[in-house]
């Protein structure tokens, strides 16, 4: 996979930014702040349930089933959030074989051999950026920054596009204006990589492992 960082500032911001004029343009600092907010939200869900479990067992060993239920909540709630994030990589309905093949040809021209190979295995195209390494799918993208993954829900407006073209749409927009891309997209989840990884099907785990390595 080629290591190419995106240009410092786009020559032309994404035209789609006009549709989300109320959103401040995403920056590395804003992204970090939103990541922290997600972590705090997760803690706010987990800590009360864990404390409840501890207190219940301390009060009475007979409260163990209640404590276990509380711990299950502490585990399941963040897991559901991570699932919501992982869903952004889900493939959309496929078009007929002909258009799919043509679209894959165009996508193949846009990326290098390693990215083509990873896309064939996982449906995701790796794309190094300034904010981190992206994994671009048909209806969203994952941004991998060390042990944190941010999951972005974003798609091309045309529902008839073949899958390769869906990916190419997002890839071109990302390459043109990475921060604008992250502004237009909706952040579905930000959290630990392992949480997202366990909610991904095996082929897409491969892609996540590849860019995290």
């Amino acid at each position: 996979m080629a290591a190419h960082a995106h240009a410092a500032a786009p020559a032309e911001p994404l035209p789609e930014l006009a549709g989300v004029y109320w959103r401040p343009r995403m920056t590395a600092e804003r992204l970090q702040a939103r990541g922290r907010l997600w972590t705090l939200t997760t803690l706010a869900h987990v800590v009360p349930f864990v404390l409840t479990a501890v207190v219940m067992v301390a009060i009475s060993p007979y409260a163990l089933p209640v404590a276990i239920a509380a711990l299950a909540h502490a585990w399941v709630i963040p897991s559901l959030y991570a699932r919501r994030g992982a869903i952004v990589t889900r493939p959309v309905r496929r078009a007929a074989d002909g258009p799919e093949r043509i679209a894959l040809g165009l996508l193949g021209d846009l990326v290098d051999h390693d990215a083509r190979e990873l896309h064939a295995r996982s449906g995701l195209v790796p794309e190094p950026g300034r904010l981190g390494t992206w994994l671009v799918g048909e209806s969203g993208a994952l941004l991998v920054q060390g042990r944190r993954v941010s999951c972005w829900c974003v798609r091309a407006a045309d529902p008839e596009l073949p899958s390769g073209d869906r990916v190419a749409h997002l890839l071109l927009a990302l390459r043109a204006d990475e921060e604008g891309f992250a502004t237009v997209a909706n952040l579905a989840f930000s959290g630990a990589r392992w949480r997202v990884r366990r909610r991904l099907p095996k082929p897409r785990r491969v892609a996540l492992d590849a860019v995290a390595a």
Binding site: E100, A156, L172
Partner: protein, 74 residues
Amino acid sequence: MSRLVRMDHTGHTTLAEWSASDPASVEAAVAAFREELDQGSIAMVTRGPGHAEHVRELPVGEQLVIMRRPIAGG
């Protein structure tokens, strides 16, 4: 020969081909380009590995100009 393509339900459609030395072909390509813009498409050119640029006028010197539809948060 340069190409103007549109990503669509067929995979992609070639809208125009032109050569900088052939003014008639350039004129036809510019017309096709503007028509696509009028229909809400966005024109992109690649600028080497990992880089692309949104353009508002047909870059006659480019080999490939790709028209895409807008994207939006899901």
